[in-house]
Amino acid sequence: MSNPFNVLGDQSTPPNSGQEHQEQEKSENLNERIKGIVGSSDIFLFMKGTPEAPQCGFSANVCALLNHLGVPYKTFNVLADMDIRQGIKDYSNWPTIPQFYVKGQFVGGNDIITELYENGELQEMLKDYLPKE
């Protein structure tokens, strides 16, 4: 089924450049745990589902944009962990998923990422991570 929120359209199915984060040690403190997760990759996405099987149109769209750019990123599936699902919203003071982070800094959700992609700022922000020609 096509995703009505995919701004790239269905013709674009680049290889997946994202990978689900595997948590090694879980800190007891939720805030510390989130910091550990966010810090595991310069480009990080909290999403519903995984890059292979996104469970929400907005999450799928952000993955599609990142795959299209070909930047390496890691993801966390909030549907698999209720602590993080709520915790990440408190951490960023942002009420929705997906949430996109670069070098630990919250950048935005789907709308912001889409707008930054469309005006070229996302490419600029991630230029050090783009695949070399």
Partner: protein, 75 residues
Amino acid sequence: MDFEKIKILITNKIEDADVEITDLTGTRDHLGLVVSSNQFKGKMLIEQHRMVMDILKESLKEEIHAVKIKTVTKD
């Protein structure tokens, strides 16, 4: 959720806001919002969206599943 209610919530906080709401999925819980206000001037995109998100935060827990926000200034 009642679209008029959302408009009122927003204009209570952002007084000069014009709010346009569309139903993205036909289920009235995935909403497209275009908010135009001069209070967005000079603010970064994330701050503009935060102003709107803060207002909808409570509604997003229950009545609204997802919003797509576009913020613009009036001129």
